[in-house]
Symmetry: C2
Subunit: 439 residues, 2 copies
C-alpha cells in the first residue's frame, strides 16, 4: 500500500528468486517486505550434503535478515503466506502466534518454490521422509546415522541386514546425489568407526520408474551417472514402480526390499501460488506467466522461480536455481524501472548457465546447451560454481575448508544426532516426519 507516496513491494519467499529480487531493489525508494516461513535462506543444491553428514546446517543456511541487514528499505517477516487477496491487494500471512495478518502490496513478487509430494500416497511420508528443508536434512541425517548405531548394537543378522539397507525412491538429481554421497559415507567416512559391523557392506538401492537416471540430462550423461553409481556399489533399479512403502521397507515391481531407511527423492510439486491467484497453470501446477513474468491480467503481480512456468524458444524453462536468480533480478529491475519511469527491460531472457549433478567423490555430470562433460573436470566445475554461488564469504570459506578436509581425509564434519528426547525415545516428535504429531 502506498504510504505517503512510498510504494510497497512484497516478496514472498527468501529462496534464490526472492532474495535476488530483494537485492535488485536495494537502492529503490520503495518499501520492500520479504516474507518467508523459515528464518533462513537455504542453498538447496547442497542440502543432500547436510543429510549425509558432510556439511553442517549453518554452512548452507543463512538468516535472511542477516543477509539483508544493510538494506534499510527492506523489512523481513517470518510467517507463512496462505493466500493472496487480489481485490484488496494484500497477502494473508499466518504469523508465529497464529494470527492471520494482511500485508498490503503495490507490487507482489511470488517466489514460493516447490515442495515434495508423495503423488497421492501421503501415507508414505511417515516411513520415507523427503528432503526439502534443513529440518528434513537433519532428520534424514539422524535416521541414517541411527541405522548404523542400531546395527552395531544388533545381534540378529537379518535385522542387521535390514538396518544396513538404504532405499532411495526417485533417481532425479536429489536421489542420484544422495545415493552417491551415502556410498562414499559408508565406504570411506565411517570406515574404522565400528567394531561389530562393516559399514561398507551396506546395501544402497536407487529406484525409479523412469528408464534412466537424471532424465533431465542427455542420455549419455544418464549412462555415465549410472555407471558411476554402480561403480560406487549402488544398486540402480530402473523402470521399477513402487508398489508400497511401510515400516519394514518397500515393495518394488512385486519384490520386497527390507529396509529401515527409505528416503523419498521423487515427486516435486510447486507451491500453491496458482491457487492463491486463481491463475492459469501448466500441468505440473506452475503459474503460467507472460514474457515479463507477470500474471496475465495482473501487471503488478510477478511469479518467479520454480513455482512459475515461463516459455522460452517454445519450451518451458527448467526449475533450477539459475532461472530463479535471473528472474528475481529481472523483476527487481523491472519494478524499479516502472517506479522511476526508467528504461524497462524487454521480456525476460534466460542465460543458460548449465545443469549439473555430482555423483560420489570427484565425479559430476554437466550440460549446458549442446555442450556436456562428465568426470573429474565436471566435478571441479561443479565445486567452483557452487562455492561461487554460496552467499556469504564466511560461509563459502568454511564450506571450502570442509570439502578439502573431507576430500583429503575422508572424515566428515557433521555427524551429530541431535534429538530432543535423548537417544532412544522412538515416539519422540523428532523421529516423526514433518507434520505428523506424536501421540
Amino acid at each position: 500500500m502506498t504510504i505517503q507516496g512510498v510504494p510497497a513491494i512484497v516478496i514472498v519467499g527468501g529462496g534464490f528468486g526472492g532474495l535476488a529480487a530483494a537485492k535488485a531493489l536495494k537502492h529503490s525508494r520503495a518499501r520492500v517486505v520479504l516474507i518467508d516461513r523459515e528464518n533462513h535462506h537455504l542453498f538447496q543444491p547442497l542440502l543432500y550434503q547436510v543429510a549425509t553428514s558432510e556439511l553442517a546446517p549453518g554452512q548452507i543456511g543463512s538468516p535472511i535478515r542477516n543477509i539483508l541487514r544493510n538494506q534499510a528499505n527492506t523489512t523481513v517477516l517470518l510467517g507463512e503466506v496462505v493466500d493472496v487477496d487480489k481485490v484488496h491487494r494484500c497477502v494473508l500471512v499466518n504469523s508465529l502466534d497464529r494470527q492471520r495478518v494482511p500485508v498490503p502490496y503495490d507490487y507482489l513478487i511470488l517466489a514460493t518454490g516447490q515442495q515434495h509430494t508423495y503423488l497421492g500416497h501421503n501415507e508414505y511420508q511417515q516411513f520415507a521422509p523427503g528432503l526439502k528443508t534443513l529440518a528434513d536434512a537433519v532428520l534424514i541425517r539422524s535416521k541414517i546415522l541411527r541405522a548404523f548405531e542400531q546395527a552395531e548394537a544388533e545381534e540378529d543378522p537379518t535385522r542387521q541386514r535390514d538396518l544396513l539397507t538404504f532405499v532411495l525412491v526417485g533417481a532425479g538429481p536429489t536421489g542420484v546425489e544422495m545415493a552417491g554421497a551415502i556410498a562414499v559415507l559408508v565406504r570411506k567416512s565411517l570406515k574404522s568407526e565400528f567394531r561389530r559391523i562393516d559399514p561398507a557392506s551396506a546395501r544402497i538401492v536407487l529406484v525409479d520408474k523412469s528408464e534412466r537416471v537424471l532424465p533431465a540430462f542427455f542420455k549419455t550423461l544418464s549412462s555415465a551417472a549410472r555407471a558411476r553409481l554402480e561403480q560406487l556399489g549402488v544398486e540402480v533399479r530402473l523402470s521399477c514402480s513402487v508398489d508400497s512403502i511401510d515400516k519394514d521397507g518397500v515393495v518394488i515391481a512385486g519384490e520386497r526390499i527390507s529396509s529401515r531407511t527409505v528416503i523419498w527423492t521423487a515427486g516435486i510439486t510447486p507451491s500453491p501460488a496458482a491457487k492463491w491467484l486463481n491463475a492459469e497453470s501448466d500441468p505440473a501446477g506452475r503459474v503460467l506467466v507472460k514474457g515479463d513474468l507477470t500474471v496475465p491480467g495482473y501487471p503488478d503481480i510477478f511469479v518467479v522461480g520454480d513455482t512459475s512456468c515461463c516459455y522460452q524458444d517454445g519450451k518451458p524453462l527448467p526449475s533450477v536455481a539459475h532461472v530463479a536468480i535471473q528472474q528475481g533480478q529481472y523483476v527487481g529491475k523491472l519494478i524499479e524501472a516502472r517506479l522511476t519511469n526508467g528504461l524497462a527491460p524487454g521480456r525476460f531472457s534466460y542465460f543458460d548457465k548449465g545443469n549439473m549433478a555430482v555423483i560420489g567423490k570427484g565425479f559430476a555430470v554437466l550440460q549446458s546447451g549442446d555442450f556436456y562433460i562428465s568426470g573429474a573436470s565436471a566435478w571441479l566445475t561443479w565445486a567452483a560454481v557452487h562455492l561461487e554461488c554460496l552467499m556469504r564469504s564466511s560461509v563459502r570459506f568454511s564450506v571450502f575448508v570442509q570439502w578439502l578436509w573431507t576430500y583429503l581425509t575422508g572424515q566428515r564434519g557433521s555427524g551429530l544426532i541431535i534429538d530432543q528426547h535423548g537417544a532412544q525415545r522412538p515416539t519422540a516428535e523428532s523421529d516423526l516426519p514433518p507434520g505428523v504429531k506424536a501421540a
Copy 2:
C-alpha cells in the same frame, strides 16, 4: 565379562570423565565398551554459546565413535543405561529399539554426570527450558530468535514488550554466562537486522534466591561479575525466590514479570548412579567414593566426575570438567595397572586448574586456589584454556575463527531456526481469529 582371558571394561558416559578414561585405556589389552545415550561428546562449558547463536552445534559436539575411531580395543554403543546389576556384573542398557540389553563388565566406570532439575516443580519445564544438551541449546536458540521475530511482526506495544523480555532463573555460571551473551546478542549482533523493533531495548532479568551471583566464586569476583552484568544492561535480582512460572512469565518475590522467554539455569542434580548402585551418597545425591574413586565394598566399580563425591583436604571436589578429566585419566591408569600387575597410582589427587566464567565480550572472572583475577586478562586466559580443551584440531580452528569474527564484527555465525514443523501451520479453523476463513 572376561572372554578368553580378555577382561571387559565398561564405561558409561562419553563426557569429559568417560572419554578421558577411554583414552587412558587406549593401549590396554582389555576390551573397552563406552556407552552413551547421545552419539556425541559435548564440550559443555560452551553450550551457552550455541544457545545464543554464536557457535554451531557441530563446533562443540563431536561423534564419540569418531573421536575413538583409531582405538581398536574400544567399542562405542549408543544407548541409555538404566540400571546396574552388581550381582551378575552387568549394566542394563535400553537400546534404540527399546530392547533392554545386559552388557557384562569386569570393571565398571560410571561417568554419568548431571542433569538439570526443577527442584520439585516439573510443571515449569514446559515454560522454562533448561540447558544441558545440544538439543536443549538448539531449542533455546530458536525460542530466543523467534521472540525477536514475533516482536518484529507484533503491533501491540505491550505484547512486544513481553516478547522482548528475557528472564533467566539461576545466577550460577550458566545463568551469568547466558545473561551476558544475550546482552551482547541484543546490543551488538542483532543491531541493524530489524526495522520495527530495537533489539537493544530488550529487557534481560537474571534472578536468584542467593544473595550473590556465582556463589561458588570469591565474593570479590561475584561483585565484579554483577557489576559487569549491570554495565551490560542486565537487571540482576538477587535474594528473590521464584513463586511461579507460567506461559505469561514469572512471579518473583510477589512481583510478576511478563515474559515470553524464561530460561531455567538453576538446579543441577547428579545422574541416578547412586540409586543404580544402591550406594551411599552426599546430600546432593552424588555417590561417595573412596580415595581410589571406587565405591566402598566394590573395588571394581569406579564413579568419576559430576556424579561422584570425592573429598580432598576435608572438602568435596567441585563439579567441574577438570576434576572429571583428571579422575577419568586416573581410573584408566589404575585399571591398566591392575590388569598388568603394574605400579598402581596412590589415591586420587586433584590438581586445581581453576574455575572461570565469562561475562559478555572480553570480560571474565577466574580463580584458582587463593589467586583470582577479573576483566580482559581473565577473558584471554578463559579463551586460551577453552580452545586448548576443545578436542579436535579442526573443531578448535573453526571455533577460533568464529570467535575472532564475532569479536571483530559483532556478527554471529549461527542464527538458524531449524524447526521440524515449519514456522506455523494454524490449519485448524478454531485457531483463527473470528471472521477469518481458513484457506
